[in-house]
Symmetry: C2
Subunit: 266 residues, 2 copies
DNA sequence: AGCAGAAATCCGATATTTCGGACATTGATC
DNA sequence: GATCAATGTCCGAAATATCGGATTTCTGCT
């Protein structure tokens, strides 16, 4: 109820910039600032931060100084831009280590990426969106970093078809926003198709999709289930669509294996 | 200059708790709070946070609410403790990906931990202290998490002997605080010994120490050097002291190999 | 050199947040 | 069931951090 004072939540969804109105707490401004950098995924100049977050310039300067001193932010290059600093990594590591499932998942994801050599990920739901929690790039050169912590519509992903496993058609309709069935390129995912994929995935114990978000990419995912059999996360590979079929099958086996271990674990 | 208002810096070194005096900015209180959780490396109850950071109780409640809402913190279990939340992981990942050397180092550390099966680390200096930046546990059960982002006296570590490589005896004396030559168990590292280790390490291209911080642990480290040949980081293994000699030699070769790649890279 | 525009700093006033302490709630112990 | 302790909420007042705008410094360009 406090942060909303600064950001108009209604305006949220779209390109995340807030129009500040009144005077706000330092904390709320800092939260907006960090969130902005995260969405940007790149260093930003202070003036731009001020504009894009709707924070008065003098305030941003003041806060950035404080944050740089605390190593939450770092001044980059000599171009006067700032980005996240080492403290965030330390705190983030503490978080990862404190969550049992994620700590174990890290092992599996690293192992998969190392042995198979393709990009492996660990994904979960965050509200009604899909989220990459862990990402370990394979040996390929490109696609170095992925979108850790960036929310994506559930129907855009292979894993999404597993993560809503336990819901009936009506529940899903209520849960996933209408507009999320439209892909970035404008194509539309028919609901029946989605439900069919889902049922097939539950049956087979894995799911594979090609050319969803990106035409030339194939995703394969296996479900991590809790003791009640509910899918609480997925492990997946992201590979070029032209990857050899046998290799893909090997990957799926590896995924099922890893996902199985994590399902046991908790 | 702002954060100091809250924390008495002189009191620092010891058990990190500050005695708040005057009214402080929310930001400064939050920084103290996060730093406290990081040192603690465990969830804490709000009342304890208030006591240990010297922040008024009502203020902590207020701030924690804001931070939980932003996912910077998370309420754990049902015992009312709080700890870092997922947002810290996302911001931390952004940081890691934004620093070239660290991003590359992550590959190497993961690879080493996977292939050799022992805990691998990537370390750097932070001021006049040694710091584990990346840690990847091996296949052994114990010693799951390490002290990422926790400052350690340079002489306590194998890597430390490489990281001050470029300094002369006088520089080192000026750089490393006197008291840092005393190990946690009270033993004292003679300066000549340290300098000898250093010279030998530079000569050999790696360093190995046993029973420094912990009697039953051996550390092996290889230097990552910049274009001027200066040691800017190290890669290392942390293994039980009774590890087979041949295995240790193989590890050292693997370390030199990885460190060499990173030295090339930048 | 000189100029224009942007980046960064400075400063005082006021709207606001922090803080203390009182009050409510929960839970454990005897 | 009563007592004590710990946890969490609420509220008004006072201290002060945020903000606007003016000033200064920097940078690139003609």
């Amino acid at each position: 109820m406090t942060a909303e004072r600064v950001m108009d939540k209604a305006a949220g969804q779209a390109m995340g910039q807030a129009t500040a109105t009144a005077r706000a707490r330092g904390i709320d401004r800092v939260i907006a600032l960090m969130e902005h950098l995260h969405r940007l995924r790149a260093p930003a100049r202070i003036a731009d931060i001020a504009r894009d977050t709707g924070t008065p310039r003098s305030t941003v300067y003041e806060l950035v100084n404080t944050l740089v001193e605390a190593r939450w932010l770092e001044t980059r290059d000599e171009d006067g831009t700032v980005f996240f600093g080492p403290a965030m990594h330390y705190y983030g590591s503490d978080y990862l280590n404190s969550v049992d499932l994620i700590r174990k998942a890290r092992r599996e994801v690293n192992h998969l990426a190392e042995v198979i050599g393709e990009t492996a990920q660990f994904c979960m739901l965050d509200g009604n969106k899909y989220l990459v929690v862990l990402n370990e790039p394979g040996r390929r050169m490109f696609r170095i970093s992925s979108d850790i912590g960036i929310k994506v519509p559930i129907p855009w992903t292979a894993s999404g078809r597993l993560l809503v496993d336990h819901m009936g058609p009506d529940e899903i309709r209520a849960f996933i926003p209408e507009e999320d069935f439209t892909l970035p390129d404008g194509r539309r995912i028919v609901e029946e198709e989605f439900l069919r994929d889902m049922a097939a995935a539950r049956e087979a114990g894995y799911v594979r999709t090609t050319g969803l978000v990106d035409r030339f990419t194939t995703c394969m995912a296996a479900p991590v289930r809790d003791t009640q059999g509910r899918c609480i996360a997925t492990i997946c590979f992201v590979v070029p669509a032209d990857t050899d079929a046998d290799e893909q099958n090997a990957m799926i086996e590896a995924l099922k294996d890893s996902a199985g271990k994590l399902s046991m674990a908790r």
